[in-house]
Subunit: 112 residues, 2 copies
Amino acid sequence: MPIARTPEPPYYAVIFTNQRAEGDKGYGKMAERMEELARGEPGYLGIEGARTAEGFGITVSYWASEEAIVAWKANMEHRSAQAAGKKTWYEGYSIRIAKVERAYGFARGPAA
Amino acid sequence: MPIARTPEPPYYAVIFTNQRAEGDKGYGKMAERMEELARGEPGYLGIEGARTAEGFGITVSYWASEEAIVAWKANMEHRSAQAAGKKTWYEGYSIRIAKVERAYGFARGPAA
């Protein structure tokens, strides 16, 4: 998963940090489906994710507005995954909604 | 690295996403030292990080104010690492400064 190509700020970020519970129990399939769903939502700008071998993960999704985040949270299929997540897939998680105010970066090579 | 125990919003997040270049070249030692330095800065609230086997990483640090982030960016030892980072450790990175407006979470077990 590469660095997301987001527009100039301001825009919004949902910082989802979590500790996976043991066993897949359909997690991989669900995570793939949620990413696919998010990409199709209005106001979706991009997503970035990484996980350690110990199951600690960070997913940051980027959105054009707070309204887009509220709509994504309320998506019926997403809601069902949220409910199952607490019981099945995570030891714990934290969700932070943040307004990106400044951004800068660097990329090596011809695409810089 | 566990989920950071941050206070009630508002506070700030620095979302640092990056693709590592090949070879350690002192990266591990530097990263450890930068985390140690950050923890000692005024306004530091916490840090979370994860990296994939392919070298894509996300580090999110949390700060009490924008001023704290500016001071951390200007820290002399940190500035030296920033300069070396572009040349030595990263294929590319993105830094996003964001104001956390809402947060919620879940933790299993007696500490919940």
